[in-house]
Structure formats: C-alpha cells, structure tokens
C-alpha cells in the first residue's frame, strides 16, 4: 500500500494500492477530484506532485515544462511510492500560461514533438 497525502486538504491521508490510476483509487476512497476525459488527454484532473514517484507514461496532455513543474495526470498516473500532492485548480498556478507572453523552449514541448525535433537536428 502507498500513502497519499493531500497537502492542500489539511494533509489528508489516503492509502492506495498503486495498481489503478490515482483518480479512481482516490475517488473510491471519497476524495472529490476534478476530471474530464479519463484517458490522460485533457488535463482537467492535473495535480501537482510535491513528493514521491508516479508512473504516468500513458498521459499525452502535459508538455515537458508542466512535467518538470511536477504536474501529474491523475486519471492515468499510478503511485509508485508514498506521494504528497496539491490537488484541484489551486494547484494549477504553473499549469496554465499565456503562450504568447511566455513561450516554450524546444525541450519544453510535449514529448512527441520535442523528440521529433531532436531527430531532425541530427
């Protein structure tokens, strides 16, 4: 079992197995979480990982900057260790940015296009 701490819900603690996406595990334990597509494509359920490890390799919504800022797509991510999260839109301070004022560098794009660019440059 993994211990999931929700920092911005008074450090509430939930015990999960880690064999299912965190969204479904935490909701089944009574935590009310936002979600949309439920396949890792739409970002509605994004939460910020403060401590711990997750496997979210099937997500396709986050760019590399968002991943580096700790964002996790809960509808597909599985806990790999004890984790601490901030959840909900209060955790989205760095998730949304005006793309004209604050553009991404090549390495900060979504993984699929950042990779394509590297191959081209070679």
């Amino acid at each position: 079992m993994k211990k999931i701490t929700i920092a911005n819900r008074n450090n509430a603690i939930y015990e999960v197995r880690g064999n299912k996406p965190l969204l479904s595990e935490l909701r089944s334990l009574g935590l009310d979480l936002p979600y949309g597509c439920q396949y890792g494509g739409c970002i509605t359920c994004a939460a910020k990982l403060i401590k711990g490890k997750v496997d979210q390799k099937s997500q396709v919504a986050l760019n590399n900057r968002q991943i580096n800022n700790g964002y996790v797509i809960l509808c597909v991510a599985r806990a790999k260790s004890d984790c601490t999260f901030d959840i909900g839109v209060e955790s989205h301070d760095k998730l949304y940015r005006n793309p004209f004022i604050d553009p991404l560098a090549q390495h900060e794009l979504k993984a699929n296009i950042a990779t394509v660019r590297e191959i081209k440059d070679d």
Partner: protein, 451 residues
Amino acid sequence: MEGLCCGPGYASPSEAIRAPSEKLLYTIAIYTGTGIQKPDYLATIDVDPKSESYSKVIHRMEMPGIGDELHHMGWNACSSCHDDKNMSRRYLLVPGVRSNNIYVVDTATNPKAPRIHKIIQGTEIKTKTNLSGPHTVHCLGSEIIISFLGDAKGEAPGGYLHLNKDFEILGRWENSMGDIPFSYDFWYQPRHNVMVSSEWAAPNTFMPGFDLEEVGHLKYGRRLHIWDFEKKRPIQTMYLGEDGLIPLEVKFLHNPNSSHGFCGAALSANVIHFWKTKNGSWEWEKIIDIDNEPHPDWPIPIPGVMSALLVSMDDKYLYINNWLHGDMRQYNITDPHNPILTGQVWMGGLLGRAPIVNGIKVAGGPQMYQLSLDGKRMYVTTSLFSTWDNQFYPEIRTKGGVMLMIDCDVENGGMKINKDFVVNFGNEPNGPSRCHESRYPGGDCTSDIWL
C-alpha cells in the same frame, strides 16, 4: 409552398425571418476546469422583454456527472425536414467534449425546464465508432451527423458519428476521411451536393490548452475540405497556409441555391470566402484581415482570435468576433467578395477598450453568439474553452462568464450593446460558471439547412 407544411422549421429563409421572436434561449454553462465540483448545465434564459424574469436564468438542467465540458449543440430536426409532419424540433443534442457523452434533451414537454431524454454514453461511442471529442451537431432530414475531432485515444483526424432519429448509433457517417488531417466544424448545401469541413486540432493537442509552438509543428489545422456529400468522401482540399491558421467555424449563405460560404481562421484572424466556380471546382480568397494589435505586456502584437462567425438569415450581414481583442464586427456581404464593415462593439478583451459593460466587469471577450431569425438581436457569451480561458483570461475563474445582447440594425447596418440585458454567470447559485453556445427553441441563424 410556404406556410402549408407542418414539419419543423420553415419553408425558406424568408419565412424563417418572419417567425415570432424568441422568448427563451438555451445556453451551455460549464464548471469543468473552474475548480467548482459541480456538473455542467443547460441554462434556460428568459429573453421575453415583457416577462418579469427577462434577462435572467430561469432554469438549470444539470448533467448527471461532472467533467463533460459541454460546448456546442444542435437540434434533432430543422428546416431540412420541414415537409415531414412526423418530425419536430424537440430534442437538443448536447455533447461533452471531454467526456464524449451526448445528452439528448427534451425541450418540448416543458420548454422552460428541459429534461434529459436519453444519454448516449461516451464509452459506447468509442467502442462502436472509435471516435472522441464531439463538436458540431447537424441534422439532415431525419438523420443526425456529429463531427468528432479525434479517435478513441484523442488522436486526429476523428470523423463523423451517424445517428438515426431515435438517437441510435448507426456507425460512422463518412465513407472516407481521405487525407484530412484534422476535423472541427462542418456545414453543407444539399443543392450543390457539397459539405465543407474545417480543422482545429487533435483533442490531445487542444484540450490541455494552447501551445503556440505546436502551430509551427503542424499540430493545428490550416485547410478547408470540400466533400461530395452524397458519396460521403472528401474531393478537394483548399490549403490556406498562413492566411488560414486554425480555420474554425464554417457557414454557407442560408439561400440553399448559393455556393458562397465563409470560414473564420482563428489565429490568422482572417475571414476566408469560398465558392463554386462555373467549372465545378472550388475557389477561396481572404476577404477580411484583422490586424494584430500591440499590447504593452506582450512581446508580439495580439492576434484577434476569430473563434466564430455567423451569417444573418437574409444573407446580408456576416458577424465575426475577436476574442482576444474584445470586439464584435458586422460586415455587409451583399457582394461576398467585397465585405463592408458596418458595425462594431467592444466587450471585455485584452486591449482594455471596454472592461465594464452594463455594470459588469467582463472576464473574457466576445466568443460565441447567436442571432435571432429576424437578425435584430444577437446574444453573445465570453468563454471559449475551459483550458484556453484559463490561459488568456485567468480572472474568469472567479468572475465567471457574461451574456450580453447586441441590437443589430438590419436596415442601415450598425451594432449597439443593449443596456437592459445582461446575464452575469458570475452570480450563479453554485458559483461562477462560464457560458458558451446558445440555441433558440424556434430556430436561429445557425440551426437550419434547406434541401
């Protein structure tokens, strides 16, 4: 045979213009992406000036769950089956872009308090048709076609869901997507056996928000597609290039004999005009080009973001919005090659021209709009899409969306914001929601197609 038939809609656009004024609107309001853990809902708005509850939300029909992101919607029937007395414009089909669910809403039993008639589950649509990301709903006779932007995993190009009049899944509508890379809006003109479709992006690209760099990586559209409507396959691509970055809404003139139509290229902030030539091929030209505007905090000038357009029922006026600039414009398109600017109003936007309208501080800019059949009353809302709102207008989270009404002068041209009408979705009982598309029970300027 005008007025003799008893099916839905009207015998012709000119008959539609003479229909009674709308008394109710149905408007989508969302909580998805706002931080409020409540379902999106369909708001009924009283637009009868004689009513005590004029300019107020008088009913809220909540969806059964959270996270749909309701967006666009359409009727089960329109003037395309005007001669079918067994049909009626009774059901509104309301898709959730993120959940893939389609809610069939009965608006006839109690027009003020619509209710859910049937739910087509998103999982069933994925399993049977490999589609996700529903957008535009059109009917043709007793059948219904809905564009989807992605496959079941959210990758482009998506395709078209085909429903029968009982809202059962028949499968995919199209016989081929050809080499179309992206889907979005579509409109058709049966007398020319043509459908035109436009391009946004894959759901996995646009749903998380807008990364400008992805335009350069060809993750967003820049083409229009001409279809053989009967054969249900694309036959010609119009590559718009830099003039047509992110071509979104497509509308033909309402006159069913006309082949002239228009598309708003959102990022280029251009209007593309297209038409059929004498030899049967299709041509296009850019007829309106909105300049980007400087902003003290922006390193580059702000594009208009022309996210929608519509044509008045008499085919005289074209309306466009610039969501980031904050203006709505009216053009006389009597000569569709040479539009003439005849009206402009400001509400919200990033340029600071009209931050407060009718006493409300507007978060967002003019985004979706619907026009009365007589062309005189335009209802405008301010939210685009939850994630994109959050990027460009983060204050909409606490302020919510706004609906305003523009009085349109159909004789001489001109637009004026009506001082007596405002619906502030910032004051909704469950907290600030965001309003998007509207439909009128008796039809409007984006619901009807004539055979």
